[in-house]
């Protein structure tokens, strides 16, 4: 074997996707100039933690980070999966950050993945675990992922800054994904929600629920929001509460919105995050998220803007058939995903805007990635 040729990239942007796609397409990468000019140079804690997670899920991967953390050399190994894995996530980001790449990675492992993640379960920046459980997993099923063995169990809540939450993720592995034709949005037939409160009074939950349902009053009667009040060891280490709303349509689309409220976590520089400081009352949070959900519904598309990236990745990983999906306005993350897909998998999408609804229909031919590491039975 000759020298390995590395793909050279720059900056910390879309770090997760780069790692994910590099692993799936087994392309060794070098990322330079990671936050070279920033106050805090180099890889952040959660990024290191993500690297650890990739290491634990795959075998034989080589990760080299220089002293300042501004340069990363990553040579992907073989995705193993496996049972009884445990990973404690860095508390700077919540579990949604880790779950998004992990869900896709687990599909292409040698063995079904079953991993216990510990850390922050919900925060406003990333997908909450409730959303992952109730919306994201449904998106995966659409691509031919078997529903048995695909599960996320929330065992303990934990919010920033201390975390202490625990979830158990199981992902089956697949031979390949099937292409989808998913342009039908359908009509919202029911809205389900999940609120939680940890180490705070359940009154917060009630007021959130009440406020959120009030927003939907005009539109839909079939709204149900479950509450989940945790206490004791299941409540994690910090106080907080949050809400996740999922709208299900007649065509089987899941549109979601979520947030969590907790104490701000200290930045690495020692400052408290600015936006976290101003905490809104629980009612306002409920109204806000409900409105956000409606906004997402208004935008259209078969998934909400948060899931666009995942949707595109899944489309690109399909067999060599045409996938066609409809999304609302392209989110910046979605656009970044599209660029990364072209870079790593050579999958280009074609776009057809739909002016009457303000949506975009994306078409692509899957890269035909098959699960190479699965053993021949």
């Amino acid at each position: 074997m000759g020298k390995t040729t590395y793909k050279r990239l720059k900056g910390s942007q879309s770090f997760r996707q780069r790692l994910l796609l590099a692993t799936l397409s087994s392309t060794p990468i070098i990322i330079d100039e990671i936050r070279a000019d920033d106050m805090i140079t180099g890889l952040l804690r959660h990024e290191m933690s993500l690297l650890r997670l990739f290491e634990s899920v795959s075998d034989d991967c080589v990760v080299e980070v220089n002293e300042t953390g501004t340069r990363l050399k990553y040579k992907p190994g073989i995705i193993m999966g496996g049972k009884n894995l445990v990973h404690s996530c860095a508390l700077t980001r919540s579990m949604g950050y880790y779950l998004e790449p992990l869900l896709v990675l687990g599909l292409f492992g040698k063995k079904p993945l079953s991993i216990r993640l510990k850390g922050v379960t919900d925060d406003p920046k990333d997908l909450s675990v409730d959303t992952v459980r109730n919306a994201t997993l449904h998106i995966l099923k659409r691509f031919g992922v078997p529903s048995e063995g695909l599960d996320l169990k929330i065992e303990a809540r934990g919010v920033a800054p201390e975390g202490g939450g625990e979830v158990l993720l199981t992902v089956p592995n697949v031979q390949s994904l099937t292409a989808v034709q998913w342009v039908e949005e359908g009509m919202v037939k029911k809205i389900r929600g999940w609120t939680f409160s940890a180490r705070v009074s359940s009154d917060f939950e009630h007021s959130m629920r009440f406020a959120a349902r009030g927003v939907f009053n005009n539109l839909l009667p079939d709204v149900h929001i479950f509450n989940d009040h945790k206490s004791g060891p299941h409540a994690g280490k910090s106080p907080g509460y949050g809400i996740s709303l999922v709208a299900e349509t007649t065509a089987g689309c899941y549109i979601s919105a979520d947030t969590a409220v907790s104490c701000g976590r200290a930045d690495e520089t020692g400052e408290i995050d600015v936006e976290r400081q101003e905490r809104k009352p629980a009612e306002d949070t409920g109204v806000e998220i409900a409105s956000w959900l409606l906004q997402e519904i208004e935008k259209g598309g078969v998934v909400d803007s948060t899931h666009q990236g995942l949707l595109f990745i899944l489309c690109a990983l399909c067999q060599q058939d045409v996938s066609k999906v409809r999304v609302g306005t392209l989110s910046p993350y979605g656009v970044e995903t599209l660029r990364n897909l072209k870079e790593f998998l050579g999958v280009t999408f074609s776009f057809r805007p739909d002016p009457s609804t303000g949506t975009v229909i994306l078409t692509c031919v899957g890269s035909g990635l098959i699960n190479l590491s699965r053993k021949l039975s």
């Binding site: 034709q181 409900a290 208004e298 259209g300 993350y333 009457s356 229909i361």
Partner: protein, 1202 residues
């Protein structure tokens, strides 16, 4: 006449005397009455006719009870068996992802040397195209029918060529010398093919005219056929070519063979459908000549041409050139098909004009299309005025005087220099032919470029390989649009016709890779653009060829649509550019910047953004922006509590207006339609048009969109089936097909209504319910139609961008930095296979395979002996370690492969997906006797490490024994080692089990040596005991693989890689090392001396008397009984004496007898020896005689065969 008369005579007889006759009957009762025939052939015939008349169907079985159910159990079993057989026949349908025209099918002609491979190809080509091929070199593509093209490839005689051929063959024609029988090559080739996915196989027996005896011929044919069948399957086609007539196979037989070839159906093979590959039919060295002049051994840039097969090829894909190595494609361009299928027209068969064929390596075929040039090869005999004539000095005026035009043309031919140069030299002379020629020659001499020499060279080469000697054709250069470029390549003088407007492009290509890639993308458009720019040019007669080619590229889209398309593209709201950056067609200004960026390979962003966005924020352009999928902006949320605001999205909920909601989707599609209309003007595609109608229909039924869409797709699938059945209809008239389809659809829809959408095919539905496989097939078909529908909507550029190059397109692949040996040792007779590499297949790792030694290979394989494997597209040498899986899942190393069993093989190499087959060799040389394939195998999985273990037995001796504890020495060498084995179980030879506890250093005296372990046993052991520890030690598989570079050396040389131990030993004369301990020696055992048993006194006292040792002190003197003298009585003495006498007598007698017998035996032996000598002599004589005659016969036979 006679009968008639008789009848006339009889009739009145009966009529007139009926009563009398009756009476007579009664009276003559004894006479037998006429009995109708009840059986026999006549009766059977009669009854059949009768039945037919009556309209009774005859379906009576001869013995209806014969097939009745006797036993229910048996019947059930039979039924089960029948069903199982049926199921076994069924294959899982595979998705066919090849859209559009298929590439020519590869027909590989294979056989041992001297069996007539080239002759078969020549005959077939002659049959199909009426052209003679002087020599078969490289693939020969021919248009065989209206929908079918074939590429003939002759399989070279070495194993590397055979492997590569087996990987590309769609049909293999195995030629077998009938007079000789099967040869190893045939079976080797069969085995290689079986491993790499079994293509269709047809056997052809040749040399059958060697048989004089018809019976023998028949017998041989039968024998060979049956042998062939056992190897492939019963009923495999074996064809006979009876013999040569005037050095050719008989026309009739070639015709039959061609028919068999043309009806064969090809099925997809899994490896090939997932990997693109190109069988190159042309190779050009495009290295800048100055670079080559500087250094002859510099790395070369080459271009390879061929049809793309397998699956679609995307731009960034890496490829493997068989026998060379892995390369990334520097450029891919789709070229117009050099051997296109005839245009669709309603007619039977092919016209002679359409019987094209293309074989650039064989030096035939008229046109060569390159990216930016068209090469025209003209045969010698087709061109009257040729330069060779001039150079030979004899004017080619055959009887008649030459006209002025010809002279002019000839002078133009010889133009080697531009007009300016000529003016400098002032030698211009258009009309005086002789002078002009001489002037040319002078010029040439001046320039020292020696084109004559090259010409001579070319002519020499053309003589040698019967190549077509190119000569310059006159090109009308009236407006200077076309330039000529003469070059010597591959031994042929070739002229490149360069179009002026493309000159710049080609120059730029050389400079800028990015742009070149762009060119590659939009080849078709480039053509269009060129045409638009120079409409007047396109009218020039000399661009006809190019225009034709364009037509072929564009296919159905005729010219009038082009402006529309152009317009549409401009209008396209280009979200693609926004997302992927303005890289492509526009913005030449950006290219420089891109170049700057390109070395760090960042995204397609203008550089300005980089510097601008360093501040931070959520901008996508920022390199260090936060990685966050949520894009939350709560600031501009609407107040959804207000009713008016809610009204906007009211219809997105089930509580809203359902019809409006349905309209939302409809509108969107309609909107698309509108856009399409904008795109294409009033041009409407067949599909879209129908879709539109469909939607109008659907609007009546409100919320059944899903079903409607499904139905539409089913219809499409049905149409595809229909098309497949009646292809000619599609080609001739779209309108007619539309009507037919609508008919079919109607019937289908009705059908659906009846069956609740169960039966798709009316025939199917009435026969039985469609099974699982039918449903799968239907699904796949629907999938395909959906894909086609989506892809057809896109314009050509985007389609290539999204889908990659489609299979069946003729590609030009540019590859940089190939070793010069590839060009130097290029042999057109060997196939050049370029295979695409999938994701992760270029990295190396450990592979685990299920391997079986081939039953015909004589020796077993040894672990760590290098083998050469052919796997995927690659061939490489690697070092396997064989293993077998134990009951508990452990992989135990094997020193040798088992004889008739599968075993596991682990080796290091470039990864391939599981379920890929491979074949192993040890020796590639052609002069090896015996079967070269050593093993066949299939890859099970790959891993980053191997888990092979081998048994290890550590032996130790006790050095100190306490109660149940013993200190064991010699087992370990260090305390560290002991730490590793703490807790593992040990055993003594006598079977006492124990456990390793700890290093026993501190327990013993402090000066004790290292490596003494404290062990505990279940009982006390003895100092004489041997203690051993059984353990497993992991075995490392060497990380070695060595790609075969057979294309980088002369093809007749055998590739040598790593040698086996055996080979090295025999080369260096090293004896096999012998482990002394492993030798068998006579066992020497000392006799054991046991100490006397000592019973303690205390115990002795308690024992019963019987068990008590009777302590008798040893006597010094014999006892009294022994010492006592016996005195006999006189009678007694007498009797004793008599007995003694008798004894003596008998003894003497026996002695005498023995002596006599011995004497007799001796005599007999002597006699026997004498006889033996005689008979031996006779036998030898006899044998000598027999061998002599046999040898004579053999010699005679051999002479007869030769």
């Amino acid at each position: 006449m006679n009968t008639r008369v008789l009848l006339l005579y009889q009739k009145p007889h009966f009529i007139f005397f009926p009563a009398y006759a009756m009476a007579a009957d009664d009276l003559m009762s004894s006479q037998k009455s006429h009995r109708m025939r009840k059986s026999g052939p006549t009766m059977r015939k009669k009854s059949e006719i009768d039945k037919k008349k009556r309209g009774v169907a005859d379906n009576k079985q001869p013995n209806p009870r014969a097939f009745s159910v006797r036993s229910v159990v048996k019947a059930k079993r039979l039924k089960i068996r029948a069903v199982e057989k049926e199921q076994r026949r069924i294959h899982l349908p595979t998705a066919d992802r090849t859209y559009g025209e298929p590439p020519p099918f590869v027909v590989v002609v294979q056989g041992p040397p001297g069996v007539g491979k080239s002759l078969v190809i020549k005959s077939l080509v002659k049959h199909f195209t009426h052209q003679n091929v002087p020599e078969v070199r490289g693939p020969i593509t021919i248009v065989q029918g209206k929908k079918k093209r074939i590429q003939f490839v002759e399989c070279p005689n070495d194993i590397n060529g055979m492997i590569d051929c087996a990987k590309v063959a769609d049909l293999a024609i195995l030629l077998i010398d009938g007079s000789y029988g099967f040869e190893m090559e045939t079976f080797e080739f069969l085995n290689i093919m079986q491993v790499h996915g079994f293509p269709k196989v047809m056997g052809v027996l040749t040399h059958l005219d060697k048989f004089k005896d018809v019976k023998k011929l028949r017998k041989t044919k039968q024998r060979l056929k049956h042998r062939f069948w056992t190897e492939i399957y019963n009923g495999a086609k074996l064809f006979y070519l009876s013999g040569l007539i005037h050095g050719k196979y008989s026309q009739r037989e070639v015709l039959n063979l061609s028919r068999f070839i043309s009806v064969i159906k090809f099925h997809p093979l899994s490896w090939r459908t997932s990997h693109p590959y190109v069988l190159a039919d042309r190779l050009e060295d495009v290295t800048p000549p100055e670079k080559v002049q500087m250094d002859k051994k510099c790395d070369r840039n080459i271009t390879l041409y061929g049809y793309l097969r397998g699956c679609n090829l995307k731009k960034g894909m890496k490829v493997h050139i068989a026998g060379v190595g892995d390369y990334s494609l520097a450029g891919v361009t789709a070229l117009p098909d050099p051997c296109p299928l005839p245009s669709a027209a309603k007619k039977k068969g092919l016209r002679d004009r359409e019987k094209l064929f293309y074989a650039p390596m064989s030096g035939i075929g008229d046109l060569l299309y390159d990216k930016d040039a068209v090469y025209i090869n003209i045969n010698d005999h087709l061109v009257q005025y040729s330069k060779t004539d001039e150079e030979n000095g004899e004017p080619a005026n055959k009887g008649r005087g030459k006209d002025v035009g010809e002279d002019l043309v000839k002078s133009l031919q010889n133009t080697k220099y531009s007009v300016d140069e000529k003016l400098d030299k002032t030698f211009i002379n258009l009309f005086g032919k002789k002078t002009s020629a001489s002037s040319e020659r002078k010029l040439e001499a001046d320039a020292q470029s020696s084109p004559e020499g090259s010409d001579a060279e070319s002519s020499e080469e053309s003589q040698s390989d019967d190549d077509v000697d190119d000569h310059e054709m006159d090109v009308d250069s009236n407006d200077g649009k076309i330039k000529e470029k003469t070059e010597l390549r591959g031994g042929r003088l070739r002229r490149k016709a360069i179009f002026k407007d493309e000159v710049d492009d080609s120059d730029e290509d050389g400079d800028d890779d990015d742009e070149e890639a762009e060119d590659a993308e939009s080849d078709g458009n480039e053509d269009e653009d060129g045409e638009d720019e120079s409409v007047s040019d396109s009218q020039d007669s000399d661009e006809d060829d190019v225009e034709e080619s364009e037509d072929k590229v564009l296919g159905n889209i005729s010219k009038w649509k082009e402006p529309l398309k152009e317009k549409g593209r401009k209008k396209n709201p280009n979200l693609m550019q926004i997302v992927y950056g303005a890289s492509a067609s526009s913005a030449t200004a950006l290219i420089n910047e891109n170049n700057e960026i390109s070395d760090d390979e960042d995204f397609f962003k203008p550089k300005g953004e980089h510097s601008k966005n360093l501040g931070g924020g959520l901008d996508a352009g920022h390199v260090n922006s936060e990685d966050c999928s949520k894009f939350v902006n709560y600031g501009n949320l609407k107040n959804w509590k207000e009713k008016e605001v809610c009204e906007d999205i009211r219809d997105r909920f089930t509580t809203g207006d359902w019809s409006k909601a349905a309209l939302r989707n409809k509108n969107s599609v309609a909107g698309d339609e509108g856009e399409d209309d904008e795109l294409y003007g009033d041009f409407e595609d067949l599909e879209t048009g129908e879709k539109h109608n469909d939607h109008e229909n659907m609007e009546s039924g409100t919320n059944e969109d899903v079903e409607a869409a499904e139905r539409r797709l089913k219809k499409l699938a049905l149409r595809a089936k229909f098309d497949a059945q009646y292809p000619f209809l599609l080609e001739c008239h779209h309108l007619t097909i539309l009507s037919t389809i609508s008919f079919a659809d109607k019937s289908e829809l009705e059908d659906e209504d009846n069956d609740n959408g169960d039966g798709i095919n009316p025939r199917n539905s009435e026969a039985k319910e469609p099974g699982f496989v039918d449903k799968l097939k239907e699904e796949l078909e629907i999938r395909k139609q959906m894909n086609l529908l989506e892809l057809n909507d896109l314009d050509e550029d985007t389609r290539i961008e999204i889908e990659g190059f489609r299979t069946g397109t003729y590609l030009r692949l540019e590859i940089h930095n190939v070793p010069y040996e590839m060009v130097d040792f290029f042999d057109p007779c060997h196939p050049v296979l370029i295979g695409g590499i999938g994701f992760g297949e270029d990295s190396a790792g450990y592979m685990q395979a299920r391997l079986k030694k081939h039953r015909w290979h004589k020796k077993v394989l040894k672990t760590r002996d290098p083998i050469i494997v052919s796997i995927g597209w690659r061939r490489y040498q690697t070092i396997p370690v064989y293993a077998i899986e134990d009951r508990n899942g452990r992989h135990r190393m094997l020193k040798y492969t088992p004889e008739h069993m599968h075993c596991l093989a682990m080796f290091w190499g470039p990864l391939v997906p599981p379920n890929t087959g491979f074949v192993a060799f040890q020796n590639l040389s052609s002069n090896q006797t015996g079967f070269r394939i050593t093993a066949t195998s299939v890859v099970l999985e790959y891993n980053h490490q191997t888990h092979i273990a081998k048994k290890i037995k550590l032996v130790g001796h006790p050095c100190k024994i306490k109660k149940n504890t013993a200190f064991i020495k010699d087992m370990f060498t260090s305390d560290l080692e002991i730490a590793r084995f703490e807790g593992s179980s040990v055993r003594t030879v006598s079977g006492i089990r124990g456990q390793v506890k700890k290093a026993g250093k501190n327990m013993l005296d402090n000066n004790a040596q290292e490596g003494i372990a404290r062990c505990t046993f279940e009982d006390q052991i003895k100092m004489s005991d041997i203690v051993f520890l059984r353990a497993w030690t992991p075995v490392e598989v060497p990380q070695f693989y060595n790609p075969l570079t057979t294309a980088l050396q002369p093809r007749d040389k055998t590739w040598t890689g790593m040698k086996t131990f055996r080979e090295l030993r025999s080369e260096h004369n090293i004896p096999i090392p012998v482990n002394k301990d492993s030798l068998y020696k006579p066992i020497e055992r000392k006799t054991k001396k046991f100490n006397p048993l000592v019973i303690p006194k205390k115990l002795q006292a308690e024992l019963p008397f019987a068990s008590k040792p009777k302590n008798k002190p040893a006597r010094k003197r014999p006892d009294l009984d022994a010492r006592r003298a016996v005195v006999m009585e006189p009678e007694e003495r007498k009797a004793h004496a008599v007995v003694q006498h008798y004894k003596l007598i008998s003894k003497v007698k026996t002695n005498k007898k023995k002596a006599k017998e011995q004497e007799k035996r001796k005599a007999y032996e002597a006699e026997k020896a004498k006889k033996e000598v005689v008979s031996k002599k006779r036998n030898r004589e006899e044998r000598r005689e027999r061998y002599r005659t046999e040898d004579k016969q053999k010699k005679k036979m051999r002479r007869g065969q030769d």
